[in-house]
Amino acid sequence: MSDVTASHRWKIEKGLSGDFIFKAVTVLFAFSILVILMLMLYEMVSQSLPSLRKFGGHFITGMEWDAVQENFGALPFIYGSVVSSILALLLATPLAVGTALFITEIAPRRLGGFAASLVELLAAIPSVIYGLWGILIMTPWLQQTVQPLLQKYLGFLPFFDGPAYGVSMLAGVLILMIMVVPIITSITKEVLMAVPRSQREAAIALGATRWEMIRMAVLPYGKSGILGAVILGLGRAIGETMAVTMVIGNNPQISLSLFSPAYTMPSVIANEFAEASSPLHSAALMNIGLLLLVITLIINALARLLLWSMSRGAARGTKL
Protein backbone atom coordinates (compact mmCIF):
# COMPACT_ATOMS: atom_id res chain seq x y z
CA MET A 1 0.00 0.00 0.00
CA SER A 2 2.67 2.43 1.03
CA ASP A 3 4.68 1.22 -1.97
CA VAL A 4 1.97 2.35 -4.33
CA THR A 5 1.75 5.78 -2.76
CA ALA A 6 5.48 6.15 -2.86
CA SER A 7 5.71 5.26 -6.53
CA HIS A 8 2.73 7.48 -7.21
CA ARG A 9 4.33 10.37 -5.41
CA TRP A 10 7.58 9.71 -7.21
CA LYS A 11 5.77 9.86 -10.53
CA ILE A 12 4.06 13.10 -9.63
CA GLU A 13 7.35 14.62 -8.58
CA LYS A 14 9.02 13.44 -11.74
CA GLY A 15 6.19 14.93 -13.74
CA LEU A 16 6.49 18.13 -11.78
CA SER A 17 10.20 18.34 -12.33
CA GLY A 18 9.70 17.69 -16.06
CA ASP A 19 7.24 20.54 -16.05
CA PHE A 20 9.69 22.67 -14.15
CA ILE A 21 12.53 22.01 -16.56
CA PHE A 22 10.31 22.58 -19.59
CA LYS A 23 8.99 25.84 -18.21
CA ALA A 24 12.52 26.93 -17.36
CA VAL A 25 13.57 26.30 -20.96
CA THR A 26 10.68 28.31 -22.38
CA VAL A 27 11.36 31.14 -19.92
CA LEU A 28 15.01 31.11 -20.89
CA PHE A 29 14.27 31.36 -24.61
CA ALA A 30 11.52 33.94 -24.18
CA PHE A 31 13.73 36.18 -22.07
CA SER A 32 16.67 35.72 -24.41
CA ILE A 33 14.70 37.86 -26.87
CA LEU A 34 14.60 40.66 -24.33
CA VAL A 35 18.29 40.20 -23.58
CA ILE A 36 19.19 40.22 -27.28
CA LEU A 37 17.31 43.46 -27.85
CA MET A 38 18.94 45.11 -24.83
CA LEU A 39 22.36 43.89 -25.98
CA MET A 40 21.77 45.28 -29.46
CA LEU A 41 20.78 48.70 -28.13
CA TYR A 42 23.69 48.70 -25.67
CA GLU A 43 26.13 47.68 -28.38
CA MET A 44 24.97 50.43 -30.76
CA VAL A 45 25.26 53.13 -28.09
CA SER A 46 28.57 51.99 -26.64
CA GLN A 47 30.19 51.58 -30.06
CA SER A 48 29.14 55.04 -31.19
CA LEU A 49 30.36 56.71 -27.98
CA PRO A 50 33.70 57.93 -29.41
CA SER A 51 31.84 59.70 -32.19
CA LEU A 52 29.12 60.99 -29.84
CA ARG A 53 31.81 62.41 -27.53
CA LYS A 54 33.82 64.02 -30.29
CA PHE A 55 31.06 65.49 -32.46
CA GLY A 56 27.95 65.56 -30.26
CA GLY A 57 25.10 67.43 -31.88
CA HIS A 58 27.34 68.67 -34.71
CA PHE A 59 27.24 65.15 -36.06
CA ILE A 60 23.67 65.69 -37.25
CA THR A 61 24.32 69.11 -38.80
CA GLY A 62 27.81 68.46 -40.15
CA MET A 63 28.23 68.48 -43.93
CA GLU A 64 31.73 67.05 -44.13
CA TRP A 65 32.46 63.33 -44.41
CA ASP A 66 36.20 63.03 -44.51
CA ALA A 67 37.82 59.78 -43.42
CA VAL A 68 41.34 61.17 -43.88
CA GLN A 69 40.87 64.29 -41.75
CA GLU A 70 38.60 62.29 -39.40
CA ASN A 71 35.90 64.89 -39.64
CA PHE A 72 32.46 63.33 -39.78
CA GLY A 73 29.03 64.90 -40.22
CA ALA A 74 25.94 62.98 -41.22
CA LEU A 75 23.68 65.62 -42.75
CA PRO A 76 24.05 64.54 -46.40
CA PHE A 77 23.12 60.98 -45.45
CA ILE A 78 20.18 62.06 -43.31
CA TYR A 79 19.02 64.30 -46.16
CA GLY A 80 19.38 61.47 -48.68
CA SER A 81 17.48 58.98 -46.53
CA VAL A 82 14.67 61.33 -45.57
CA VAL A 83 14.12 62.82 -49.03
CA SER A 84 14.30 59.52 -50.91
CA SER A 85 11.95 57.77 -48.48
CA ILE A 86 9.39 60.57 -48.33
CA LEU A 87 9.29 61.08 -52.10
CA ALA A 88 8.98 57.32 -52.59
CA LEU A 89 6.07 57.23 -50.16
CA LEU A 90 4.35 60.20 -51.81
CA LEU A 91 4.40 58.23 -55.06
CA ALA A 92 3.64 54.86 -53.51
CA THR A 93 0.74 55.76 -51.21
CA PRO A 94 -1.94 56.62 -53.80
CA LEU A 95 -0.96 53.59 -55.85
CA ALA A 96 -1.01 51.25 -52.87
CA VAL A 97 -4.26 52.57 -51.41
CA GLY A 98 -5.91 52.51 -54.85
CA THR A 99 -4.77 48.93 -55.39
CA ALA A 100 -5.96 47.83 -51.95
CA LEU A 101 -9.35 49.51 -52.55
CA PHE A 102 -9.66 47.85 -55.93
CA ILE A 103 -8.85 44.45 -54.40
CA THR A 104 -11.24 44.71 -51.46
CA GLU A 105 -14.10 46.88 -52.74
CA ILE A 106 -14.35 46.52 -56.49
CA ALA A 107 -12.79 43.38 -57.93
CA PRO A 108 -14.79 40.13 -57.88
CA ARG A 109 -13.64 38.02 -54.97
CA ARG A 110 -11.58 35.59 -57.02
CA LEU A 111 -9.79 38.25 -59.08
CA GLY A 112 -9.13 40.26 -55.93
CA GLY A 113 -7.69 37.22 -54.17
CA PHE A 114 -5.47 36.48 -57.16
CA ALA A 115 -4.19 40.06 -57.37
CA ALA A 116 -3.60 40.11 -53.62
CA SER A 117 -1.54 36.94 -53.64
CA LEU A 118 0.43 38.25 -56.63
CA VAL A 119 1.26 41.44 -54.72
CA GLU A 120 2.23 39.42 -51.65
CA LEU A 121 4.48 37.13 -53.67
CA LEU A 122 6.21 40.19 -55.13
CA ALA A 123 6.66 41.67 -51.67
CA ALA A 124 8.87 38.66 -50.92
CA ILE A 125 11.43 39.43 -53.66
CA PRO A 126 14.72 40.25 -51.91
CA SER A 127 16.13 43.73 -51.97
CA VAL A 128 19.31 42.74 -53.78
CA ILE A 129 17.26 41.57 -56.78
CA TYR A 130 15.46 44.90 -57.00
CA GLY A 131 18.92 46.42 -56.89
CA LEU A 132 20.18 44.16 -59.69
CA TRP A 133 17.22 45.14 -61.87
CA GLY A 134 17.63 48.75 -60.87
CA ILE A 135 21.28 49.04 -61.78
CA LEU A 136 21.26 46.96 -64.97
CA ILE A 137 17.85 47.82 -66.47
CA MET A 138 16.32 50.87 -64.79
CA THR A 139 19.26 53.27 -64.54
CA PRO A 140 20.29 52.89 -68.22
CA TRP A 141 16.64 53.49 -69.18
CA LEU A 142 16.49 56.56 -66.94
CA GLN A 143 19.73 57.90 -68.38
CA GLN A 144 18.84 57.37 -72.02
CA THR A 145 15.09 57.97 -72.10
CA VAL A 146 13.52 59.50 -69.02
CA GLN A 147 16.08 62.07 -67.95
CA PRO A 148 16.54 63.65 -71.42
CA LEU A 149 12.74 63.93 -71.75
CA LEU A 150 12.34 65.49 -68.31
CA GLN A 151 15.18 67.88 -69.04
CA LYS A 152 13.68 68.88 -72.37
CA TYR A 153 10.24 69.72 -71.06
CA LEU A 154 10.78 70.46 -67.35
CA GLY A 155 14.46 71.38 -67.38
CA PHE A 156 13.68 74.91 -66.14
CA LEU A 157 12.82 73.44 -62.74
CA PRO A 158 15.72 73.03 -60.28
CA PHE A 159 14.63 69.41 -59.71
CA PHE A 160 15.61 68.30 -63.19
CA ASP A 161 18.90 70.07 -63.48
CA GLY A 162 22.34 68.79 -64.30
CA PRO A 163 23.82 65.91 -66.30
CA ALA A 164 22.03 62.57 -66.51
CA TYR A 165 24.12 59.83 -64.91
CA GLY A 166 21.32 57.33 -64.46
CA VAL A 167 22.34 56.56 -60.90
CA SER A 168 20.66 59.37 -58.98
CA MET A 169 18.20 60.39 -56.30
CA LEU A 170 15.50 59.80 -58.93
CA ALA A 171 16.58 56.17 -59.35
CA GLY A 172 16.64 55.69 -55.58
CA VAL A 173 13.14 57.15 -55.23
CA LEU A 174 11.73 54.97 -58.00
CA ILE A 175 13.25 51.71 -56.75
CA LEU A 176 12.07 52.48 -53.19
CA MET A 177 8.59 53.22 -54.50
CA ILE A 178 8.45 49.88 -56.34
CA MET A 179 9.61 48.12 -53.19
CA VAL A 180 7.28 49.68 -50.61
CA VAL A 181 4.10 49.53 -52.71
CA PRO A 182 3.49 45.80 -52.07
CA ILE A 183 4.02 46.24 -48.31
CA ILE A 184 1.66 49.20 -47.98
CA THR A 185 -0.86 47.48 -50.25
CA SER A 186 -1.02 44.29 -48.25
CA ILE A 187 -1.35 46.03 -44.86
CA THR A 188 -3.93 48.48 -46.23
CA LYS A 189 -5.84 45.50 -47.61
CA GLU A 190 -5.95 43.95 -44.12
CA VAL A 191 -7.10 47.26 -42.67
CA LEU A 192 -9.89 47.64 -45.24
CA MET A 193 -11.03 44.08 -44.67
CA ALA A 194 -11.41 44.93 -40.98
CA VAL A 195 -13.94 47.66 -41.79
CA PRO A 196 -17.31 46.21 -40.73
CA ARG A 197 -19.75 45.26 -43.48
CA SER A 198 -22.47 47.24 -41.73
CA GLN A 199 -20.62 50.48 -42.53
CA ARG A 200 -20.69 49.72 -46.23
CA GLU A 201 -24.29 48.49 -46.18
CA ALA A 202 -25.43 51.63 -44.39
CA ALA A 203 -23.84 53.83 -47.04
CA ILE A 204 -25.28 51.77 -49.92
CA ALA A 205 -28.72 51.79 -48.26
CA LEU A 206 -28.63 55.59 -48.22
CA GLY A 207 -28.18 55.54 -51.98
CA ALA A 208 -24.44 56.14 -52.17
CA THR A 209 -22.55 55.13 -55.29
CA ARG A 210 -19.65 52.75 -54.72
CA TRP A 211 -17.11 55.56 -54.70
CA GLU A 212 -19.24 57.56 -52.25
CA MET A 213 -19.43 54.48 -50.05
CA ILE A 214 -15.63 54.22 -50.13
CA ARG A 215 -15.16 57.93 -49.49
CA MET A 216 -17.75 58.30 -46.76
CA ALA A 217 -17.81 54.93 -45.00
CA VAL A 218 -14.70 52.87 -45.75
CA LEU A 219 -11.87 55.42 -45.85
CA PRO A 220 -12.85 57.40 -42.74
CA TYR A 221 -13.18 54.17 -40.80
CA GLY A 222 -9.83 52.86 -41.97
CA LYS A 223 -8.06 56.23 -41.80
CA SER A 224 -5.74 55.56 -38.87
CA GLY A 225 -5.01 52.03 -40.07
CA ILE A 226 -4.06 53.24 -43.55
CA LEU A 227 -1.86 55.93 -42.02
CA GLY A 228 -0.25 53.17 -39.95
CA ALA A 229 0.40 51.15 -43.10
CA VAL A 230 2.01 54.14 -44.80
CA ILE A 231 4.22 54.89 -41.80
CA LEU A 232 5.24 51.23 -41.61
CA GLY A 233 6.22 51.57 -45.28
CA LEU A 234 8.27 54.64 -44.36
CA GLY A 235 10.10 52.60 -41.72
CA ARG A 236 10.87 49.98 -44.33
CA ALA A 237 12.01 52.55 -46.89
CA ILE A 238 14.32 54.41 -44.56
CA GLY A 239 16.11 51.21 -43.46
CA GLU A 240 16.29 49.77 -46.96
CA THR A 241 19.90 49.12 -47.88
CA MET A 242 20.90 47.02 -50.84
CA ALA A 243 18.68 48.23 -53.67
CA VAL A 244 19.16 51.90 -52.80
CA THR A 245 22.92 51.50 -52.44
CA MET A 246 23.07 50.04 -55.92
CA VAL A 247 21.19 52.82 -57.72
CA ILE A 248 21.46 56.09 -55.76
CA GLY A 249 25.02 56.90 -56.80
CA ASN A 250 26.62 57.08 -53.34
CA ASN A 251 27.80 60.67 -53.35
CA PRO A 252 27.39 62.63 -50.10
CA GLN A 253 25.95 65.89 -51.38
CA ILE A 254 22.80 67.86 -50.81
CA SER A 255 21.27 68.93 -54.09
CA LEU A 256 17.77 69.96 -55.07
CA SER A 257 18.13 68.16 -58.36
CA LEU A 258 16.73 64.65 -58.54
CA PHE A 259 19.31 63.93 -61.24
CA SER A 260 22.30 64.26 -58.96
CA PRO A 261 23.65 61.23 -57.09
CA ALA A 262 22.92 61.10 -53.37
CA TYR A 263 23.76 58.91 -50.40
CA THR A 264 21.65 57.37 -47.63
CA MET A 265 22.41 56.32 -44.06
CA PRO A 266 22.21 52.54 -44.67
CA SER A 267 24.20 52.90 -47.90
CA VAL A 268 27.19 54.57 -46.31
CA ILE A 269 27.22 51.88 -43.63
CA ALA A 270 27.05 49.14 -46.25
CA ASN A 271 29.86 50.69 -48.31
CA GLU A 272 32.32 51.76 -45.63
CA PHE A 273 31.80 49.76 -42.44
CA ALA A 274 33.77 46.64 -43.36
CA GLU A 275 36.74 48.76 -44.43
CA ALA A 276 36.59 51.59 -41.91
CA SER A 277 39.99 53.28 -41.89
CA SER A 278 40.17 54.24 -38.21
CA PRO A 279 38.37 53.59 -34.90
CA LEU A 280 36.73 57.01 -35.16
CA HIS A 281 35.54 56.24 -38.69
CA SER A 282 33.79 53.06 -37.56
CA ALA A 283 32.40 54.87 -34.50
CA ALA A 284 30.98 57.53 -36.82
CA LEU A 285 29.36 54.82 -38.94
CA MET A 286 27.98 53.24 -35.75
CA ASN A 287 26.65 56.67 -34.85
CA ILE A 288 24.81 56.81 -38.17
CA GLY A 289 23.47 53.33 -37.40
CA LEU A 290 22.29 54.53 -34.00
CA LEU A 291 20.50 57.50 -35.61
CA LEU A 292 18.88 55.17 -38.12
CA LEU A 293 17.86 52.80 -35.33
CA VAL A 294 16.26 55.58 -33.29
CA ILE A 295 14.40 56.91 -36.33
CA THR A 296 13.05 53.48 -37.32
CA LEU A 297 12.05 52.67 -33.73
CA ILE A 298 10.03 55.89 -33.49
CA ILE A 299 8.44 55.32 -36.89
CA ASN A 300 7.54 51.70 -36.12
CA ALA A 301 6.13 52.56 -32.69
CA LEU A 302 3.93 55.21 -34.29
CA ALA A 303 2.75 52.82 -37.01
CA ARG A 304 1.91 50.06 -34.54
CA LEU A 305 0.04 52.49 -32.33
CA LEU A 306 -2.09 53.58 -35.28
CA LEU A 307 -2.75 50.02 -36.48
CA TRP A 308 -3.54 48.93 -32.93
CA SER A 309 -6.03 51.75 -32.38
CA MET A 310 -7.64 50.78 -35.69
CA SER A 311 -8.00 47.12 -34.74
CA ARG A 312 -9.41 48.09 -31.32
CA GLY A 313 -11.90 50.38 -33.01
CA ALA A 314 -12.86 47.63 -35.44
CA ALA A 315 -13.35 45.15 -32.60
CA ARG A 316 -15.66 47.61 -30.85
CA GLY A 317 -17.51 48.30 -34.10
CA THR A 318 -18.38 44.66 -34.72
CA LYS A 319 -19.64 44.26 -31.17
CA LEU A 320 -22.01 47.22 -31.41
Binding site: G98, I125, V128
Partner: protein
Protein backbone atom coordinates in the same frame (compact mmCIF):
# COMPACT_ATOMS: atom_id res chain seq x y z
CA UNK B 1 -31.71 81.73 -37.12
CA UNK B 2 -29.30 78.91 -36.68
CA UNK B 3 -32.00 76.37 -37.36
CA UNK B 4 -33.05 78.24 -40.47
CA UNK B 5 -29.59 78.26 -41.98
CA UNK B 6 -29.03 74.62 -41.18
CA UNK B 7 -32.33 73.70 -42.84
CA UNK B 8 -31.47 75.90 -45.78
CA UNK B 9 -28.13 74.26 -46.09
CA UNK B 10 -29.43 70.72 -45.88
CA UNK B 11 -32.10 71.54 -48.46
CA UNK B 12 -29.44 73.00 -50.70
CA UNK B 13 -27.29 69.96 -50.24
CA UNK B 14 -30.20 67.70 -51.03
CA UNK B 15 -31.02 69.54 -54.18
CA UNK B 16 -27.40 69.46 -55.10
CA UNK B 17 -27.11 65.69 -54.71
CA UNK B 18 -30.44 65.05 -56.41
CA UNK B 19 -29.48 67.11 -59.39
CA UNK B 20 -26.10 65.62 -59.90
CA UNK B 21 -26.90 61.92 -60.11
CA UNK B 22 -25.30 61.54 -63.57
CA UNK B 23 -22.36 63.55 -62.26
CA UNK B 24 -22.08 61.23 -59.25
CA UNK B 25 -22.17 58.20 -61.49
CA UNK B 26 -19.49 59.64 -63.74
CA UNK B 27 -17.35 60.35 -60.71
CA UNK B 28 -17.87 56.79 -59.54
CA UNK B 29 -16.76 55.44 -62.92
CA UNK B 30 -13.70 57.69 -63.00
CA UNK B 31 -12.62 56.66 -59.51
CA UNK B 32 -13.20 52.97 -60.29
CA UNK B 33 -11.00 53.30 -63.36
CA UNK B 34 -8.35 55.12 -61.32
CA UNK B 35 -8.30 52.32 -58.73
CA UNK B 36 -8.05 49.69 -61.44
CA UNK B 37 -5.30 51.80 -63.00
CA UNK B 38 -3.45 51.83 -59.68
CA UNK B 39 -3.50 48.04 -59.63
CA UNK B 40 -2.08 47.93 -63.15
CA UNK B 41 0.52 50.56 -62.31
CA UNK B 42 1.61 48.46 -59.33
CA UNK B 43 1.72 45.17 -61.17
CA UNK B 44 3.43 46.57 -64.27
CA UNK B 45 6.94 47.31 -62.89
CA UNK B 46 6.81 44.22 -60.72
CA UNK B 47 5.85 42.11 -63.71
CA UNK B 48 8.61 43.79 -65.70
CA UNK B 49 11.19 42.86 -63.07
CA UNK B 50 9.93 39.31 -63.07
CA UNK B 51 10.08 39.06 -66.88
CA UNK B 52 13.63 40.44 -66.91
CA UNK B 53 14.80 38.00 -64.25
CA UNK B 54 13.33 35.04 -66.11
CA UNK B 55 14.58 36.19 -69.52
CA UNK B 56 18.10 37.21 -68.50
CA UNK B 57 18.40 34.40 -65.97
CA UNK B 58 17.39 31.66 -68.39
CA UNK B 59 19.79 32.90 -71.05
CA UNK B 60 22.68 32.89 -68.54
CA UNK B 61 22.01 29.76 -66.55
CA UNK B 62 23.74 26.49 -67.36
CA UNK B 63 24.96 23.37 -65.63
CA UNK B 64 28.28 25.14 -65.01
CA UNK B 65 26.47 27.66 -62.89
CA UNK B 66 25.56 24.96 -60.38
CA UNK B 67 28.90 23.13 -60.47
CA UNK B 68 31.63 25.77 -60.52
CA UNK B 69 32.84 28.62 -58.36
CA UNK B 70 33.44 32.11 -59.81
CA UNK B 71 36.39 32.43 -62.18
CA UNK B 72 39.03 35.12 -61.58
CA UNK B 73 38.35 38.58 -63.03
CA UNK B 74 38.46 38.65 -66.82
CA UNK B 75 37.91 34.94 -67.41
CA UNK B 76 34.60 33.92 -68.92
CA UNK B 77 32.39 31.26 -67.34
CA UNK B 78 32.23 29.91 -63.84
CA UNK B 79 29.27 29.63 -61.54
CA UNK B 80 28.01 30.27 -58.04
CA UNK B 81 28.18 26.77 -56.56
CA UNK B 82 29.97 28.02 -53.45
CA UNK B 83 27.38 30.76 -52.98
CA UNK B 84 24.49 28.33 -53.14
CA UNK B 85 26.09 25.86 -50.76
CA UNK B 86 27.14 28.74 -48.50
CA UNK B 87 23.59 30.07 -48.39
CA UNK B 88 22.32 26.61 -47.47
CA UNK B 89 24.89 26.30 -44.68
CA UNK B 90 24.01 29.76 -43.36
CA UNK B 91 20.27 29.04 -43.48
CA UNK B 92 20.67 25.66 -41.78
CA UNK B 93 22.76 27.15 -38.98
CA UNK B 94 20.49 30.15 -38.57
CA UNK B 95 17.51 27.78 -38.36
CA UNK B 96 19.23 25.70 -35.68
CA UNK B 97 19.72 28.86 -33.62
CA UNK B 98 16.57 30.77 -34.43
CA UNK B 99 13.77 28.21 -34.63
CA UNK B 100 14.10 26.80 -31.07
CA UNK B 101 14.19 30.31 -29.60
CA UNK B 102 11.15 31.30 -31.64
CA UNK B 103 9.10 28.19 -30.86
CA UNK B 104 9.93 27.90 -27.15
CA UNK B 105 9.54 31.61 -26.72
CA UNK B 106 6.11 31.35 -28.32
CA UNK B 107 5.21 28.43 -26.02
CA UNK B 108 6.12 30.62 -23.07
CA UNK B 109 4.00 33.50 -24.38
CA UNK B 110 0.90 31.44 -25.13
CA UNK B 111 1.05 28.72 -22.42
CA UNK B 112 2.79 30.22 -19.40
CA UNK B 113 3.44 33.92 -19.54
CA UNK B 114 1.71 36.42 -17.32
CA UNK B 115 0.03 39.07 -19.40
CA UNK B 116 2.40 41.90 -18.51
CA UNK B 117 5.63 39.98 -19.13
CA UNK B 118 4.19 38.53 -22.34
CA UNK B 119 3.35 42.03 -23.55
CA UNK B 120 6.90 43.15 -22.88
CA UNK B 121 8.42 40.19 -24.76
CA UNK B 122 5.95 40.54 -27.63
CA UNK B 123 6.86 44.22 -27.82
CA UNK B 124 10.57 43.32 -27.90
CA UNK B 125 9.95 40.87 -30.75
CA UNK B 126 8.08 43.56 -32.69
CA UNK B 127 10.90 46.03 -32.13
CA UNK B 128 13.43 43.40 -33.19
CA UNK B 129 11.53 42.72 -36.42
CA UNK B 130 11.45 46.44 -37.21
CA UNK B 131 15.21 46.96 -36.88
CA UNK B 132 16.79 47.46 -40.32
CA UNK B 133 18.80 44.36 -41.17
CA UNK B 134 21.96 46.34 -41.84
CA UNK B 135 21.96 47.32 -38.15
CA UNK B 136 21.62 43.68 -37.16
CA UNK B 137 24.77 43.14 -39.20
CA UNK B 138 26.63 45.97 -37.42
CA UNK B 139 25.69 44.67 -34.00
CA UNK B 140 26.75 41.10 -34.78
CA UNK B 141 29.98 42.52 -36.17
CA UNK B 142 30.87 44.12 -32.85
CA UNK B 143 29.47 41.22 -30.78
CA UNK B 144 31.05 38.30 -32.67
CA UNK B 145 33.36 39.35 -35.50
CA UNK B 146 35.54 41.67 -33.42
CA UNK B 147 36.03 39.28 -30.44
CA UNK B 148 36.57 36.30 -32.77
CA UNK B 149 39.04 38.38 -34.80
CA UNK B 150 37.54 37.60 -38.19
CA UNK B 151 34.49 37.38 -40.39
CA UNK B 152 32.86 33.98 -40.15
CA UNK B 153 29.97 31.81 -41.27
CA UNK B 154 29.02 31.57 -37.61
CA UNK B 155 28.55 35.34 -37.30
CA UNK B 156 26.53 35.41 -40.55
CA UNK B 157 24.24 32.65 -39.34
CA UNK B 158 23.76 34.42 -36.00
CA UNK B 159 22.74 37.63 -37.77
CA UNK B 160 20.22 35.70 -39.88
CA UNK B 161 18.92 33.92 -36.75
CA UNK B 162 18.21 37.31 -35.15
CA UNK B 163 16.02 38.15 -38.15
CA UNK B 164 14.27 34.77 -38.00
CA UNK B 165 13.38 34.78 -34.31
CA UNK B 166 10.60 37.40 -34.27
CA UNK B 167 8.95 35.93 -37.39
CA UNK B 168 8.87 32.38 -35.99
CA UNK B 169 7.85 33.63 -32.55
CA UNK B 170 4.82 35.62 -33.66
CA UNK B 171 3.47 33.07 -36.15
CA UNK B 172 3.94 30.18 -33.69
CA UNK B 173 2.24 32.11 -30.90
CA UNK B 174 -0.74 32.89 -33.10
CA UNK B 175 -1.05 29.23 -34.09
CA UNK B 176 -0.77 27.99 -30.49
CA UNK B 177 -3.50 30.39 -29.41
CA UNK B 178 -5.84 28.92 -32.02
CA UNK B 179 -5.61 25.44 -30.43
CA UNK B 180 -8.80 24.98 -28.36
CA UNK B 181 -8.34 24.90 -24.59
CA UNK B 182 -10.53 21.79 -24.38
CA UNK B 183 -7.83 19.82 -26.20
CA UNK B 184 -5.25 20.76 -23.56
CA UNK B 185 -7.75 20.03 -20.78
CA UNK B 186 -8.56 16.60 -22.20
CA UNK B 187 -4.89 15.69 -22.25
CA UNK B 188 -4.25 17.05 -18.76
CA UNK B 189 -7.33 15.21 -17.42
CA UNK B 190 -5.78 11.96 -18.65
CA UNK B 191 -2.85 12.66 -16.37
CA UNK B 192 -0.40 13.76 -19.04
CA UNK B 193 2.01 16.30 -17.56
CA UNK B 194 1.72 19.85 -18.81
CA UNK B 195 5.00 19.81 -20.70
CA UNK B 196 4.11 16.65 -22.60
CA UNK B 197 0.64 18.03 -23.29
CA UNK B 198 2.23 21.17 -24.69
CA UNK B 199 4.64 19.29 -26.93
CA UNK B 200 2.50 16.34 -28.00
CA UNK B 201 -0.97 17.89 -28.12
CA UNK B 202 -0.84 21.68 -28.35
CA UNK B 203 2.25 22.10 -30.51
CA UNK B 204 1.39 19.08 -32.63
CA UNK B 205 -2.10 20.32 -33.50
CA UNK B 206 -0.60 23.67 -34.48
CA UNK B 207 2.20 22.06 -36.47
CA UNK B 208 1.12 22.98 -40.01
CA UNK B 209 0.76 26.62 -39.03
CA UNK B 210 4.12 26.58 -37.28
CA UNK B 211 5.70 25.05 -40.39
CA UNK B 212 4.23 27.88 -42.47
CA UNK B 213 5.87 30.41 -40.19
CA UNK B 214 9.22 28.64 -40.37
CA UNK B 215 9.13 28.42 -44.17
CA UNK B 216 8.25 32.11 -44.45
CA UNK B 217 11.11 32.97 -42.11
CA UNK B 218 13.51 30.88 -44.20
CA UNK B 219 12.26 32.52 -47.39
CA UNK B 220 12.91 35.89 -45.79
CA UNK B 221 16.49 35.19 -44.68
CA UNK B 222 17.40 33.38 -47.91
CA UNK B 223 17.45 36.73 -49.71
CA UNK B 224 18.95 38.86 -46.93
CA UNK B 225 22.14 40.58 -48.03
CA UNK B 226 22.75 43.55 -45.77
CA UNK B 227 23.29 41.61 -42.49
CA UNK B 228 25.86 39.37 -44.19
CA UNK B 229 28.08 42.21 -45.45
CA UNK B 230 30.05 42.52 -42.19
CA UNK B 231 29.50 39.04 -40.81
CA UNK B 232 29.78 36.26 -43.40
CA UNK B 233 31.57 38.73 -45.72
CA UNK B 234 31.46 36.43 -48.77
CA UNK B 235 34.16 34.26 -50.23
CA UNK B 236 35.42 33.74 -53.78
CA UNK B 237 36.30 30.14 -52.96
CA UNK B 238 34.97 27.21 -50.98
CA UNK B 239 35.25 27.57 -47.24
CA UNK B 240 35.95 24.56 -45.07
CA UNK B 241 35.46 25.98 -41.58
CA UNK B 242 32.57 27.77 -39.93
CA UNK B 243 35.05 30.26 -38.48
CA UNK B 244 36.02 31.40 -42.00
CA UNK B 245 34.23 33.88 -44.24
CA UNK B 246 31.64 32.07 -46.34
CA UNK B 247 30.05 32.82 -49.71
CA UNK B 248 26.32 33.44 -49.96
CA UNK B 249 24.16 33.69 -53.06
CA UNK B 250 22.71 37.19 -52.31
CA UNK B 251 26.19 38.54 -51.54
CA UNK B 252 27.50 37.18 -54.84
CA UNK B 253 24.58 38.65 -56.75
CA UNK B 254 25.37 42.02 -55.15
CA UNK B 255 29.08 42.06 -55.84
CA UNK B 256 28.65 40.73 -59.39
CA UNK B 257 25.89 43.23 -60.21
CA UNK B 258 27.98 46.26 -59.23
CA UNK B 259 31.10 44.95 -61.01
CA UNK B 260 31.79 46.40 -64.48
CA UNK B 261 31.94 43.08 -66.36
CA UNK B 262 29.16 41.83 -68.64
CA UNK B 263 29.94 38.22 -67.89
CA UNK B 264 29.58 38.83 -64.16
CA UNK B 265 26.26 40.55 -64.82
CA UNK B 266 25.09 37.39 -66.58
CA UNK B 267 26.05 35.32 -63.56
CA UNK B 268 24.22 37.78 -61.31
CA UNK B 269 21.03 37.32 -63.38
CA UNK B 270 21.37 33.56 -63.18
CA UNK B 271 21.82 33.83 -59.42
CA UNK B 272 18.78 36.08 -59.17
CA UNK B 273 16.69 33.54 -61.07
CA UNK B 274 17.78 30.73 -58.74
CA UNK B 275 17.07 32.87 -55.68
CA UNK B 276 13.64 34.01 -56.86
CA UNK B 277 12.57 30.51 -57.89
CA UNK B 278 13.69 29.16 -54.49
CA UNK B 279 11.81 31.88 -52.64
CA UNK B 280 8.64 31.44 -54.67
CA UNK B 281 8.80 27.69 -54.09
CA UNK B 282 9.23 28.28 -50.35
CA UNK B 283 6.37 30.72 -50.06
CA UNK B 284 4.06 28.61 -52.23
CA UNK B 285 4.80 25.60 -50.02
CA UNK B 286 4.16 27.76 -46.98
CA UNK B 287 0.82 28.86 -48.44
CA UNK B 288 -0.07 25.26 -49.19
CA UNK B 289 0.71 24.28 -45.59
CA UNK B 290 -1.21 27.28 -44.32
CA UNK B 291 -4.26 26.43 -46.39
CA UNK B 292 -4.34 22.74 -45.44
CA UNK B 293 -3.91 23.80 -41.82
CA UNK B 294 -6.95 26.06 -41.99
CA UNK B 295 -9.10 23.37 -43.56
CA UNK B 296 -8.48 21.13 -40.56
Amino acid sequence: MNVMTSIDRSAAEQRNTMRSLPLRNTKNTIMTLLMGGALLAVLFPLGLIFVHIVKMGLSAISLDFFLHIPRPTGEVGGGMANGMVGSMVLIAMASLMGIPVGIFGAIYLSEYGGSRISTVIRFCADVLSGIPSIITGMVVYSMLVVPMKGFSALAGAFALALIMIPIVLRTTEEQLKMVPTSLREASLALGVPLWRTTLKVTLRSALTGVMTGILLAIARIAGETAPLLFTALGNQFWSSKLTQPIAALPLQIFSFAIAPYDDWHRLAWAGALVLVVTMFALSLTARYFGRSGHKN
